[in-house]
Symmetry: C2
Subunit: 224 residues, 2 copies
């Protein structure tokens, strides 16, 4: 259960002040599959980063699993995040010094799973994303779409309660894109709450509800 109350985010640099989010009020129930859409620069990634406990609001409240986490420290947020959230980043954020196996394994190391069990789960995630044949490659030895698939594998490997995905199919052909969407759908049917930023109307069709953002504000919400 995720809820924001008058959520505002302002970025300040020497030159410029940008209000990326302006009084956002949204609620996401357990088990929902919500898409977030809107023009480039309207605040989607900023919202997802706050919902994913990677960033903090400037003003307003944010309830995550019924705790008001708006004022939480980095350490408190990291703890909540590691136990609950799988995140697919818009630019993948793979670790260049780790190979594909090690990148996907990382969330499981935080959960203190045995090496044998980690190996099983990593291979399962890689097989699902059809990237097992690149297991020993490093990120800079992968195509753009292959990096994206590794990023998705890493987000799902621990079967987290929440998956937050920022444009998970942007670099994929339609066949691989559909496979990612089917994976997310399947996890949602088993109870995973999914919040997905997308520019693709086609991907948004998999969701229960679409939140439209514009210029840092909620424009509308369509229930499908």
């Amino acid at each position: 259960m995720i809820k924001t109350v008058n959520l505002t985010k302002v970025f300040r640099t020497d030159e410029v002040e940008t209000t990326a989010l302006n009084n956002i009020n949204i609620e996401i129930k357990k088990g929902e599959f919500v898409a977030v859409m809107g023009p480039s620069g309207c605040g989607k990634s900023t919202l997802l980063n706050i919902l994913g406990l990677l960033d903090t609001p400037t003003k307003g409240d944010f309830y995550f699993l019924d705790e008001n986490v708006a004022g939480y420290s980095e350490r408190q947020r990291a703890r909540l995040r590691k136990h609950n959230i799988g995140f697919v980043f818009q630019n993948f954020n793979l670790i260049d010094q780790l190979n594909v196996f090690e990148n996907v394994e990382l969330p499981l190391i935080y959960l203190r799973m045995s090496a044998k069990e980690r190996k099983e789960k990593v291979h399962e995630a890689l097989e699902t994303m059809q990237i097992a044949h690149r297991v020993k490659h490093y990120p800079n030895q992968l195509s753009g779409g292959q990096q994206q698939r590794v990023a998705v594998a890493r987000a799902v490997v621990s079967k987290p309660h929440f998956i937050l995905a920022d444009e998970p199919t942007g670099n994929l052909d339609s066949k691989h894109g559909d496979e990612v969407m089917r994976l997310l759908s399947g996890l949602n049917e088993k109870g995973t709450t999914i919040i997905m930023v997308t520019h693709s109307q086609r991907d948004a069709e998999y969701s229960h509800r679409i939140i439209h953002l514009f210029d840092g504000q909620v424009l509308s919400e369509n229930v499908k």
Copy 2:
């Protein structure tokens, strides 16, 4: 005029040998607008990097403007590249230490243009990509789609003879994506040769011809 003869590219790492391109024979005429499509990992970026003189073949010949450049040194390729090619990278490759203005200005500095003329051209490119309001921002202060638009602005700013674009609309909503495609179309009508890798059937509609790659080989070519 671009031509490849039995072009082959093999990547070798300690563990693995990957044949990314396998005997590619293609020809692109001056003034054409060619789209390159195919599944994730099939060799599109590898091909574009070689055509764009950023990488060299393992075997085979490659004619660029009637010179066989397959064996050219980095220095020779860089010189040809700076005077002829604008490149939009799949992961943007913006320089983090330079702001938006400086990133877009970079190709013009190599061409030894006056500061006044550079400023005019940079502002024109930024206006066309609707990103002028972010001119003093640094890449990590931009949204994914804004970074992509800066990358496109940089590729077109010197009005080069060739534009090579690797998935130029992957992070853009349909409105901004269409604007990029209209810009490329417009440049093509004025004589720019365009080679565009894309996963989007919609973007491919703007091209004269689509080359389909699969597993490192040319599968087919459709003339539209």
